[in-house]
């Protein structure tokens, strides 16, 4: 009765499930923002309103491609962590971290640039535009912090807890990528 007839875990670990539920609630958050965007958009014939430039298409799309490409090393990190390869995991996470940090830095540059051209306080367009894009950037920032934290923790070796952490973070980045695609399409929709 005391000995447990148990081999390898076959179900997903608790940490992964916790992240899955968290991602579900995050996705609903973004769904609500996007729904609100279109609710406001279809109330007015001029979107963006007069005096506000149409969003530029090329640079955000290139950045989006970079972000999506960065999910390859993140997923690899998950595979390496499960195989117990500490160094490879760290390297993969760092690669992703560099790409994604570059993405975020460029995006913040664009964000400030937009702020110089129109303001969230002028019209509903500016309000929802900056809120939607800003929340997405915050979402990316959380992912960066998670990766940075894991890289540091992995210097002290790999444990089951940290492996689950890497897997959960990899899942988080999948969600960030899907949401990034949705947000970018919405953001650029007036120009498309």
């Amino acid at each position: 009765m005391t000995s447990v007839p148990y081999t390898e875990r076959s179900a997903k670990p608790n940490g992964w499930w916790g992240m899955a539920v968290f991602v579900a609630t995050e996705a609903t958050l973004f769904g609500t923002l996007i729904g609100s965007y279109y609710d406001l958009r279809f109330r007015t014939p001029h979107w963006p309103p007069p005096g506000v430039p149409d969003p530029k298409v090329a640079v955000p799309l290139v950045l989006l491609a970079v972000l999506v490409a960065a999910s390859v090393p993140v997923q690899l990190a998950s595979v390496f962590a499960r195989a117990g390869r500490v160094g490879a995991t760290q390297l993969a996470l760092l690669t992703a971290l560099v790409l994604q940090s570059g993405y975020l830095a460029m995006q913040i540059h664009l964000f400030v640039d937009d702020l110089n051209r129109f303001s969230p306080q002028d019209t509903a367009y500016g309000s929802i535009y900056f809120t939607l894009v800003g929340v997405h950037h915050a979402h990316v920032l959380v992912g960066l912090l998670l990766e940075g934290w894991l890289v540091l923790r992995l210097f002290r070796g790999i444990t089951e807890y940290r492996t689950v952490g890497v897997r959960a973070t990899a899942f988080y980045w999948l969600a960030v990528n899907v949401l990034a695609i949705a947000v970018t399409i919405v953001q650029l929709s007036p120009s498309l």
Partner: protein, 616 residues
């Protein structure tokens, strides 16, 4: 060599004294913390209700000024929904019972569980600080725009509302996440999905609803704060905003919320009925599906709160039809409860009486609810006391009665002592009569044209006598509640010892001692039906060498992993404290200081995760 219970006690016992309560991660202690905290808020909300009823007892009441009435009325609604019913059903009942019913030793994320509680406490204190400063929320619980804009509500009142509810939502989301993963992963070996107790199905439905319903509210409130404090435009027409956006997002949360309130009550009913009817629930799979279906349909009916806002007729018809559909899963459950009692050998002790009262009140409130699905009727009665009558039958009658019955039912489990049966039955009848007297006449004054939220009225409309009866009823109701709590308090110290299983219940919480030990089960049971306590005992899993519990596969409940569980931790309360300061700084528009506290919260999270459970 120590015996197994002694060994487990050494592994699982937490620090004694106050520090133990502040750093606890034991789901039972967290459940009790929730229980007592929500009772305090229940008392506050009850006093607010009595103030409202005293003000409205006769025409031209002068107990409260109009400004005070607005705040008291708003805080009554906000308290009862966000600080009483949800934390009581999920935080107290869910926390205490769920791991016991699943045969687990704790929740999936014990420290997150502690964090949920401390965040909840912080948000409650935050909201009440507003009221005590005379700046409490004052725009009704759904706080419609443009009433909630800076222009018409210049004080901090609506800011307390918006930030307080975002804050509260953090706690509730963390709790719901924890419940879902616990239900998915920590069921006792053998407990496949179809062998889960119906209470657990109800909690699963509630948690899923919360995870998907709270984000629209959070966004709505964040829009409101951005508009009020930063000058954004979301709801004002002049800036290109849409006033109806507020209502859409609010009710996209607000209607699932109704089922979030009612579903745990249904879960409690499905726990109490089989025990006292001495048979398994009729139509078990249908009831389980109905619980999930109620939660699902709840997301498709929000615009029935907006039938008078000028939505297109096609949209109105869709939402009216969807609202009618809710009748189906509700009725499945009502008939299943009634037939289970009818086909069993029912013993009408206090918990079952409260469930009987619940069914009666739920049917009354449900029937007036169906009336609102008829668009012309809704348009005629909207914003009258008829609506107030309807939702109090649902929220007080249908949601709170099972909570009260559940308090009696699980009292022996939590304390190891029996409540006083005779006085418990008296308390039921007093509460039931008080409820009917308070809320039934509201239907009539509503049809006579009395609008909701008025702080006073003139005589001569034919409302006076009904209002007086309602006020008398409210005080009878309060007396009934006081009898309940006096009974429980007396029994806590003087009640007869109950033993582990005084009612011969079917689910696993009755398979351990009362009160349960810190490790819940000396041997984690294996399960072969939804009523394992009624089956012959089977061998289980001991796990008595570490701070461990069993994890099983999501669908079939096969034993899958031995989990090392985190022990007590001070970080949750520290994090909750940092977040509380963060919200106070947001309220007073000190954005930089708020940012600093967000950073501190981040550092606390780092410290929290440095200690990994597996390192033990």
């Amino acid at each position: 060599m120590r015996s197994r219970p002694e060994r487990l006690e050494l592994i699982w016992a937490e620090r004694p004294g106050l520090l133990g309560w502040l750093t606890t991660v034991d789901h039972k202690r967290i459940g009790l913390l929730y229980f007592f905290t929500t009772l305090v808020f229940f008392a506050a909300g009850g006093i607010e209700a009595l103030l409202i009823r005293t003000q409205l007892a006769g025409p031209n009441g002068k107990v409260l000024s109009p400004e005070a009435f607005d705040q008291v009325m708003t805080m009554h609604g906000v308290t009862m929904i966000f600080l009483f019913v949800i934390p009581m059903t999920t935080g107290a009942f869910g926390n205490y019972l769920l791991p016991l019913m699943l045969g687990a030793r704790d929740m999936a994320f014990p420290r997150l569980n502690a964090l949920s509680y401390w965040l909840f406490l912080g948000s409650g204190v935050f909201l009440y600080a507003g009221l005590l400063m005379g700046k409490g929320p004052n725009c009704g619980w759904f706080c419609y725009t443009p009433l909630n804009t800076k222009e018409y509500d210049p004080g901090l009142n609506a800011d307390f509302y918006a930030l307080g509810l975002i804050f509260n939502g953090l706690s509730t989301t963390a709790g719901a996440l924890n419940f879902i993963v616990t239900i998915f992963k920590l069921r006792a070996p053998g407990m496949s999905f179809n062998r889960m107790p119906l209470f657990v199905f109800a909690m699963l439905a509630v948690s899923l609803s919360l995870v998907f319903a709270l984000p629209p509210l959070t966004i709505d409130l964040a829009f409101l704060e951005l508009q009020r404090q930063a000058g954004f435009h979301f709801f004002d027409v002049a800036g290109g905003g849409d006033p109806l956006l507020w209502q859409h997002l609010f009710w996209l949360f607000g209607h699932p919320e109704v089922y979030i309130i009612i579903l745990p009550a249904m879960g409690i009913a499905t726990s109490i009925i089989p025990t006292f009817a001495k048979r398994k629930m009729i139509a078990f799979p249908l009831v389980a599906l109905a619980e999930l279906l109620v939660a699902f349909i709840g997301f498709g009916v929000w615009a029935h709160h907006m039938f008078t806002t000028g939505l297109p007729v096609g949209a109105l018809i869709f939402f009216a039809a969807a609202s009618m559909m809710v009748v189906i899963p509700s009725t499945i459950q009502i008939y299943a409860w009634l037939f289970t009692v009818n086909l069993g050998r029912p013993e009408f002790r206090a918990p079952l009486l409260f469930i009987g009262g619940f069914i009666a009140l739920f049917v009354i409130g449900g029937l007036s609810g169906i009336m609102f699905a008829a668009i012309p009727f809704d348009q005629a009665t909207t914003d009258t006391y008829f609506v107030v009558a309807h939702f109090h039958f649902i929220i007080f009658g249908a949601a709170v009665f099972p909570i009260l019955g559940g308090m009696y039912y699980w009292f022996p489990k939590v304390t190891g002592r029996m409540y006083h049966e005779r006085w418990a039955q008296v308390s039921f009848w007093v509460t039931f009569v008080g409820t009917m007297l308070t809320f039934f006449p509201m239907h009539i004054v509503g049809l006579l044209g009395m609008t909701r939220r008025v702080y006073t009225y003139h005589s001569g409309f034919g409302w006076d006598a009904y209002n007086f009866v309602e006020t008398v009823g409210a005080f009878i109701l309060a007396a009934g509640l006081l009898i309940i709590f006096a009974n429980l308090l007396w029994s806590r110290f003087r009640g007869a010892p109950s033993g582990p299983d005084p009612f011969y219940g079917g689910t696993l919480e009755w398979a351990t001692s009362s009160p349960p030990p810190s490790y819940n089960f000396a041997v984690i049971p294996t399960v072969s039906s939804p009523y394992p306590n009624w089956d012959r005992a089977e061998a289980g899993v001991a796990l008595d060498h570490g701070h461990e519990t069993a994890a099983t596969t999501v669908r079939d409940g096969r034993l899958d992993e031995v989990l090392k569980m985190p022990a007590e931790s001070g970080w949750p309360i520290v994090l909750a404290f940092a977040v509380t300061i963060l919200f106070i700084m947001l309220l007073t528009a000190h954005v930089v200081v708020a940012g600093i506290f967000a950073g501190i919260a981040g550092l606390v999270l780092v410290a929290w995760h440095v200690h990994e459970p597996a390192e033990g």
